[in-house]
Subunit: 162 residues, 4 copies
């Protein structure tokens, strides 16, 4: 076996667990998600992959859609209810869901008694717009700078007297 | 629960299994990998995610590196030996390995008695160059068109008498 | 000489003149610009190049900045006054001005008695945000779909009780 | 008028002339081109624009095509003969030619007694492949690293016994 320290982009199971953080989306009091951003720890710049888990009764983020960034989830353990474009879908281990762009809105909750464990990933773009239709919010992000608008404040671009 | 047929990008565990294909890389007689290209089945254009498995004694592809496309693997079950830049690393469930670009060469084999099951993913770019250093080959791909050169035939771009 | 009809991306001077359109930006009553979008007529997808002219006393567009798309101008004939980030610069034939992104706001006017003729170009991206700071407007464009917000309505993304 | 030193991306005609360099493509003894890379001097990262001139009897580069980078030229003064995909086209002031990708091979020569002056531009990508079909060469460039192959050494990627 080679010297494992010589390849910095190999993350061991224990390292991954030790690197966990818990996040609650400020716009959803039910949001609570714990996990590790594998891809950034392992040097990837444009690809996102995370290993995450949601406690019983909690939700992932806030119901949102992406204009540009592709996104996917793959269920490893537990049960989830995905709210996708107004419909609910029950998910279990081995199910995969993707969100081509521009995506429909979605969010995930854990309705069960066990932890919901899954992988999620997608694109990391420098510039993204995400909408939160039930909250009437639009998020514009450039790098790490974020600005929020009221989604319903959007106006068309109209030509004069036409 | 909503009508599941209304969201085409949800792939059920059984659908994923039924969609498997087996691939053997033509340049490695030990290559044998079976799996499903989840991301393309689920409508993603720029992001690759696959669920794959390698039988005992077999290998994933051929020892290669990518110039442009980021790549990652995450082990779900079984044991693997990753050959990365000339060193071997034993991998087990829960280990994650990434290959930032330009990447070092790598390949994966299943040394054990059980199936090796993992997820792999990364970028899907229109234009890619991949090198196979032990085979002395360079692969240039534009869309689905592929051309092969002998890697060692590369010459510098030299200015005359300077 | 070859058969000229055999290369569709060669645009003759006369064809370019015949392909002119006049545009007035709806947010600036002084805007009046006439020209030909050379790059799209000649098959380019990601690069913009136009040959344009502004009559005496008129302006190009409305004072704006780009978040993502690089932009440049090169003066061929006449005199111009470029308003760039609050300062005015007099421009004449042979002068070149570029706007790396995120750019500072700018606009061009023809103060003279002769026509101002120039080339302008840059990137054509699928997704762009442009701000019009003196008009308090932000334009979000995806493909040809445009939405307008009031720039000053932007709010920070704040974590609760932090 | 504002303080001109306050906007670094404005290049005056005289500065542009003073910034000229002469380049002869090492693979074409007839190549001689003098000019200024306006876009890089003015801070652009992804867009190329140059003001260039070719003396009587000389040529621009070597007959080549681009796989990825869009390219264009616009004639300002003099006469040129463009060799495009095996056909010759006479060009004069006000003519525009573009090369959508993957492009057909092309080169430009000055057949006349006067200098040929033109603008050229296009995309600046990190990774590019350019072919020189009459020289049987393929150039692979990553950033500023360039490697050359013999174009005719390309082999198909074949599956075994198929």
């Amino acid at each position: 076996m080679g010297d494992e320290r010589s390849y910095p982009y190999l993350l061991r199971r224990n390292t991954i667990r030790a690197g966990e953080n818990t996040f609650s989306h400020p716009w959803n009091p039910q949001s609570e998600i714990t996990g590790t951003h594998l891809s950034s720890l392992a040097g990837l710049k444009r690809t996102g992959v995370s290993l995450v888990r949601i406690p019983a009764g909690k939700e992932s983020f806030a119901y949102h859609l992406h204009h540009r960034e592709e996104e996917w989830i793959y269920i490893l353990a537990g049960r989830g209810i995905a709210l996708i474009d107004g419909n609910e879908y029950e998910l279990g281990p081995g199910d995969f869901v993707a969100f081509p762009t521009p995506s429909v809105p979605h969010n995930l909750r854990n309705p069960g008694e066990d932890e919901l464990v899954y992988m999620m990933g997608g694109e990391n773009l420098d510039f993204e717009v995400a909408d939160f239709p039930t909250l009437d919010k639009r998020m514009i992000r450039r790098g790490s700078e974020v600005e929020i608008y009221r989604l319903s404040d959007a106006r068309p671009f109209e030509m004069p007297d036409s």
